[in-house]
Amino acid sequence: MTAFTSLSRAMLLGWFRDKSALFFSILFPLMFLVLFGGIFSDMGTSKMAVVQVGKVPLLEQAAAGLGDVLEIQKSDDPAAAREKVKEGDVVAAISQQGDTLHVSYSAADQVRSGTVQGVLRQVVSQANAVGVPQRFTMTAQQVEDDSLKAIQYVTPGLLSWAVAMGAAFGAAATLVTWREKRILRRLRLAPVSLGSVVGARVGVSVAIALIQTAIFLGVASLPYFGLRLSAYWWMSIPLIIAGTLTFMAIGLVAGGLAKSAEAASGIANLIVLPMAFLSGSFIPLDASPGWLQTLSNVFPLKHLNQALLDVMVRGQGPLSVLPELGIVLAFGLVISLIAMKVFRWDSV
């Protein structure tokens, strides 16, 4: 074994055996995922609201039978109705042009829009059965929406927070305990290059971040949560790696400044947690005031969030997030330079 692999092994083993590290980097974020993704997405009435745009004779005929499944609102403004769908106030907007029933739904809530479509298909086929020859047809169309809901939104945000926290805490705690326990000095007295020590730590942090990602996406994709990843979700891997590097650097700064492991995790927390809130990891920034949205640009986590959201659920192409990737790495570079300034081999 080379110095690099044996140091990586030592660090990984140390991490796996550290119950609190496992809890905070895996279970704790998953608890948030359950909270935000599971509970919040189940909120709402059991009756599904749809909006009827203009006159829809087909729906009116069947309205009596649909009463306990659908709550039918009425509107004459197609644009306003679409907006309601986008915002998730109603599951679908239904209009009728001639013999065609037109249904607009949101991808944010696939389960319920699917149910509504199913119900309406039934209405159409029943009507067809009554009036021969076949008169009515139905088309369904997805509303491309900007404001994603629940699990779709929550997963990338919580994932970037979990990765940021894991990387920052891992780096800070390792640096401080290794300095306190004089492992750093011991390593200086062994014929290993600084590169393999740093490389091992970076490798381990990246590995941990990818493990977090795998577990996170695995859990969120369970039918209960129902995350649907877009085609380019794999682009999240380079983004996660870049984020890990940047937050490791933040952890190294915290570790360089702190005198004890407790202080280091305190400092790391003080940096990462408010940043997570202000970067929209927990709550979408779309609804927040303009100044906050502007302010959020100074946080690397915001750009990471944004990019993960784009490639994981918004279905944007891999190239579209290159600017964000660059920004995150640039933050990492600057913070690494600061980390080098505050680095100390020894506690005295």
């Binding site: 044996s6 030592a10 011991r186």
Partner: protein
């Protein structure tokens, strides 16, 4: 047989504090060399400069013909260092610790396991390092320092905070290491440790070496008094003073009558003639007396 370590006029200042203030010494190959002194004497700083952890302000250090500063990988493979605190990776077992250190030097795991057995820790191989006792932890850290078979071993206060039994065990281990032909350099603030282990010892205080030589030679060179004690009542203070002659001291603390003399042979002969040797105690000077003599103050570790 040449000098493996040559230190010449080493100086290191921290602000106004002269931690090391003109230290020179050399260590022969295969020697057990001790640096003795109270806390803050500059022992550890001296050792760290020799190991290459710190840069000296001035002076030269040569270890195995090489300069330890700046960091010299070729030298690092030939020295083994045990640090003051036991430096272990968190949450690894004893075996994993030593194997990790072994691989840093390109040493096979099998050799690491052998070393673990050599320090008597094979039955603790699967115990996390944090749960080893003080003595076991020190033995493991010494094993980690020896795993790549270095020519010189540096030990910084190896027996600090150990109970007497664990200290004795450790001393046996250290003698073994030295008997295998390795040069051992150790710092300690225990006089008895230096006396018992070291071929030569440098007594340090305030960043300077006060005296350097074999412990026995240092003590002999003192011309210090020898203390002879008898049980109170076996000999009256008056007759004790008469035996001791002029220039000697006699003291009775209610338990023992103690005669301090620089001519123990004459006093002992006189006591033998009176058949008073039963239960007698004779104590010569120790390194503590050497320290007292050199600094004019009592030794406090």
């Amino acid at each position: 047989m040449g000098s493996t370590i040559i230190v010449n006029d080493l100086r290191k200042h921290y602000g106004q504090v002269r931690a090391v203030d003109g230290v020179s010494f050399s260590v022969e190959q295969g020697e057990f060399f001790g640096i003795l002194g109270p806390n803050g004497a500059g022992k550890t700083t001296t050792l760290e400069i020799v190991e290459g952890l710190r840069e000296a302000d001035s002076g030269t250090v040569e270890v195995l013909g090489m300069r330890p500063w700046p960091r010299n990988s070729k030298l690092l493979t030939r020295i083994g260092v045990q640090l003051q605190a036991t430096s272990f990776f968190e949450r690894l077992t004893a075996r994993e610790q030593i194997r990790t250190f072994a691989s840093l030097y390109g040493v096979a795991p099998k050799k690491a396991d052998e070393m673990l057995a050599q320090v008597g820790l094979e039955d603790k191989a699967d115990t996390p390092a944090e749960r080893l006792s003080g003595g076991q932890g020190q033995r493991l850290s010494i094993a980690c320092a020896l795993v790549h078979d270095p020519d010189i071993v540096f030990l910084d206060e190896p027996s600090a905070a150990l109970d007497p039994q664990a200290r004795r065990n450790l001393w046996d281990l250290l003698r073994q290491i030295n008997d295998n032909g390795r040069t051992v350099v150790l710092t300690t603030h225990y006089m008895d440790e230096a006396e018992s282990l070291c071929d030569r010892v440098a007594i340090m205080d305030d960043g300077r070496i006060l005296e350097l030589g074999a412990p026995a030679a240092l003590v002999r060179g003192l011309e210090a008094v020898t203390r002879i004690s008898l049980e109170t009542g076996t000999l009256s203070v008056e007759s004790a003073a008469e035996i001791a002659g002029p220039g000697a001291s006699v003291d009775d603390d209610g338990v023992s009558v103690t005669i301090g003399t620089d001519d123990p042979a004459r006093v002992l002969t006189a006591l033998a003639e009176r058949n008073l040797l039963t239960g007698i105690q004779v104590r010569g000077a120790t390194l503590e007396d050497v320290f007292l003599n050199l600094t004019g103050r009592e030794y406090r570790a």
